[in-house]
Symmetry: C5
Subunit: 321 residues, 5 copies
């Protein structure tokens, strides 16, 4: 579905143009066309391929979707794939933004992205001195918008991790903790798969050998790179912490179990002693003088309770109970 | 076994030719010969070696099979080894495709590959504008076909992993889970051994210094590279997730065990108390007034059941039962 | 908040100048201006941006704070972000120092840093032969001050780790140990996030291609690099040791538990034997000759205690008790 | 001990020569001398050092033995150390082959190598077209022979691992498994120490800057490199699989233990119930009407066995027994 | 403390010279001065700084000590820090050797080093053809001496590890093993911190761009590099083996525990059966015909012992006892 199709010159909007006019406008010097598509059908992409002269392999990738983030050069043009990660409640929603860009055009294709990029266009149109840098500034603005949306996801993961950490040394919560840690690890991996390949790829847009039309916006792409590295470092910390937390959780389970075992041992000992002595005086020997004694029974009870009480006290003191 | 042997010129099929004619056809400018062999005998390879002038070490590798994926340059020709991984039910079947390729020929040798590559030839012959790129396009088409067959394998591994994940927090399934995780890890390693070395090698076909006859198809090989990276990233995720799942599974086992221990401790305590008091009133002291009482027995039973009931209630409340 | 704003020439202080005069002084050859800000408001930064002609993206980073350590070139100027880590009792306090530097100015902006950098300025003014190296020496002095503050933090982490190590083989302290190890790991990660990215970045200031105005101070930046590497190596050792300590702690828990189990087994056996024999002589068969015997009871007791004593001795000898 | 000392020219054997004649023969153009020593004494090495003009450090290394695999250039000559790993039953036997090689000589020194390299010489002499490549082909042939001997070792390790894997999910074999896994890991490390450094070093003999006299045999050394990489990949798989197997083995131990605990709990419950009720009817209250009843005893027994039978059935159904 | 201060020319000792004469001698072409200090005071270093014209930062490092191993270039001179590790009984003693070296001088400063380097000087003076290579040979000789002292430390660690391995599968030694493994890991880390940074640094002295006065001794530094790599590989093996050993030790603990649990379960079952039947015949029902029988008691005992004996036999057979 076509969202909009606009021609710009020297940072100012020339006109909303029709799709058929694209191939004319991209011939005008100092002018570039910015087209936005959303879940396009195959036919729409074919039209674009013809208007912009896009490479077949790149169009094929955009058609299929589910690509890894990447930045590929086809002659003087770039094909950029970035993955969006949005929060939908506490679920993560993945989408994809494919951008075809050259000196004289930007074609963005979004798939499964909930929140659109109209804001990016609006902001760019309000800053003509920046938009005047041309199509590479639009590329920056789109990538920056996608990357900025990673931050709340990282924040959510960190908050979830902190919540688990607060409960990790609390008895009885280990089953729950381990389930949440596992789920969190899964989410961190999803985000990492959006971030890490993009971090590898973005080096092509600043520093060394940069496509000609991106030379003037290098510092902006370095800024995106810097954001990606912050996110990547956070994800690494989250993953490492999850690993340690799983180990620690197992330790806590084992420690708790050890305490249960000690308690079991202690009570078993106490009742064992009690039952053993009751058994002694339940024996049927004829000559057991204490059985005849008037004070035998209370004395026996006193002895048995006393002994158990002493054991209880000892276990208590040594921390088993 | 010779499957077919065809000469092409400018993207069009010239003729099915005999093996003996190969050395003539490869002299014709702008012409290339595409030969496909299947489980060839040593003699067949020797003929090919002579017709194409192949290097002894490369032929030796093809004869022995069981090679690592690799791309080796011998003068102006390439020797490419890729490993096929096919699904046979839920088992993985490994095979090998060796490709000798130069500007004027492609010789593919398949071993233990169930599904052939006739479709690749058919498709190439229907797209003469692509086949006109020459032998390097055939190389691309063959590699692409092999790599495309990895995707269903990855999908199978991911489905299997998800199935295990669904059961990982269910009590009593841990023995089964751990067996399946171990088997899955084994399978992931097999696939990785087909993918990772190829990923290392394929950089030779795009980007930097590329063999002369592959220069025009660089973007196609970059596309294969991109597919390989997606598969590799998926395998890495699978492996990392398996590692975590094994740890989590162990934690679940230990947690379950802890619960069994608690239950054991609780019941032992209840029966211990019951038996201990029964033992008391089973003692043979002569002066135990309660034994004479008419209500002694029911009172004792009431006391014993009451005490045990209270213990049961307490254990229940603290989650031990 | 402006802390001070001073112009220097050939290592000597020229004058305290007003903010408005900055743009004049930075035009004077061989002269540089050193401005220090603390938690500046947006407007203050805007003034500085104009006076020094700072790049928008860099100023934006300084405004937002919470950056990763980095060294970015903007034309002939550098934007340096370093993170301070200070000890506040046994807590770690993180702050940030942003430095804008070029041949003719240094602008430092500190946020959340408790201990200021007045000492750095004082020391620099007392060593005019060093300050004469220009603004890059000031950059070195500031970075060196920040890095020197990492050492006591490392020392604190190492001391804490040694304290835990002293207790790791002591029974009963495992729960406490694991909590402290987890907390220590968290702290080590915080410090590492200040150190590691800076270590990656500082290579830009010595060795290969260095900004022109830093060429003369390369050896000083290499010294900072060396300090960072020592700290980084220490952190790596701490992290690796924590990992091993967590494993060892789990082993100790399991070993302790095994000993408790053995003790439990031993006592259960002793009381089991005792109760079993008491049960035998508590049976109500009519013809049990030993029950009639005068010595039956003491003999039975002697037998029971003797047997239990023997078991106790055996268990003791085999280390179960 | 001198094994043999032969001069070759254009791929053909010139003559068996005496040690003293070496320095003359190596002056003849297009001729090279191939000397093989075995556990040489210091004096023998000194003679060789003089005849060939070997570097002192290299000779010192050969004298001491126990070197890491390496390839060092001394001027126009190479000093190559490779480690042999041979199977002696299921034990691994390590040895060392030191090779001094230049355009006009090959000196091989073997230490602790059981199987000699006479076959290599014989095969080389039967293929004069290959031997005509000169001393670098001999170097290749020797290295290839050593590397080929790694394959059966890898196969043995893989067979051992598979055998353990077959038993890993069988109850009761865990103690044995863990011992065998540990031993296998040790063996894998030994092999890896022979392979990995050689893999690092062999890059010097093909690809980039190669010693002049090895240029013509580059493809052969690449072949050795390829074999080494296959072996290395196999070792990596073995090591990773061992790691997982140790984890899985621990999980199996814990799972088995959990089942034992459940069974213990179940039987303890059944006997506990039985004993508790026997204790009830063993109490000495005077007014226990059921004791007087004719059917009291069988009814009680029926009740007790029935209750225990019911418990048994319940435990059986829930998988505890 | 000054140990000695000698001038050398063409490999021969010129004279013991006074500290004040140093600056004269280092002006003489082809002559170099070799000074050895031990735990120098600040003033001594200041004198040396002036005589040799040392860089302030390097002198500062030597004054403070506790540096990481490193090799730094200051103009035409080098500042080398190596760490000594000596055995003191089975304890490891760390020290530091700082070497300032240029074409015309060597200044070595040792701190906390027990065994001195007089032997190095003596050996060098006895080999004038080597010493004639100049100051870089002295640097090599000193570094070689330090590195050679690492070998016995590695041997000690390996011996300790083997001793632990011999005990790892022996029951009851796990607590001791784990303590020793932890201590061994700590020691291995100490040694690694002396070796690994030096290995990174020493590449500056051979191979690529080497300081001018070291060009002639490159092969010697490569030899030191080779020794360092052997030591490093050994340490890596030790660390990896320790990691596995800790895991295996935990497995052994858990397996042993499982066996104790089984034994506990078996004995509990045997005594439980015994006590249960004793309880049956201890019931007070009036109509229990077997109680009246003359053979009741022996029959009951026979039955109880027989049943327990049978259980014992079954448990024995299944390996629980």
């Amino acid at each position: 579905m076509l969202i909009n199709c606009v021609a710009y010159q020297e940072g100012k909007k020339l006109a909303d143009i029709s799709v058929e006019a694209i191939s004319d406008y991209i011939e005008i010097p100092e002018c570039f066309v910015w087209v936005a598509l959303r879940e396009p059908e195959s036919a729409e992409l074919a039209v674009m391929q013809e208007e912009f002269g896009l490479h077949e392999l790149a169009v094929e990738d955009a058609r299929r979707g589910q690509q890894r983030p990447k930045i590929e050069e086809y002659g003087d043009s770039l094909f950029v794939v970035v993955r969006t990660v949005e929060l939908d409640g506490d679920q993560m929603h993945e989408g994809e933004l494919d951008i075809f860009v050259a000196a004289n055009y930007v074609l963005s294709v979004r798939n499964d992205v909930k929140l659109g990029f109209l804001g990016v266009r609006a902001r760019a149109e309000h800053e003509p001195h920046l938009l005047a840098m041309g199509s590479s500034f639009v590329l920056y603005a789109l990538m920056d918008a996608v990357v900025d949306r990673y931050f709340p996801v990282v924040a959510m993961l960190e908050a979830e991790l902190e919540e688990i950490e607060d409960r990790i040394f609390i008895k009885g919560s280990q089953r729950d903790n381990i389930e949440r840690l596992y789920e969190l690890k899964r989410k961190a991996l999803v985000l990492r798969h959006a971030v890490a390949p993009l971090l590898d790829a973005i080096g092509k847009l600043h520093g060394g050998r940069v496509p000609l039309f991106c030379v003037g916006t290098q510092e902006y792409f370095r800024d995106v790179n810097d954001h990606l590295q912050r996110i990547n470092a956070s994800i690494d910390t989250i993953r490492e912490t999850i690993g340690t937390a799983i180990q620690v959780n197992l330790s806590m389970v084992t420690i708790d179990e050890g305490e249960v075992n000690k308690r079991l041992a202690a009570w078993a000992a106490i009742f064992g002693v009690f039952t053993a002595f009751a058994g002694v005086w339940g024996m049927n020997f004829e000559f057991m003088p204490e059985l005849k004694s008037h004070w035998g029974y209370p004395a026996a009870l006193a002895f048995m309770f006393g002994l158990c009480g002493y054991l209880y006290y000892r276990f208590r003191k040594s921390g088993w109970l």
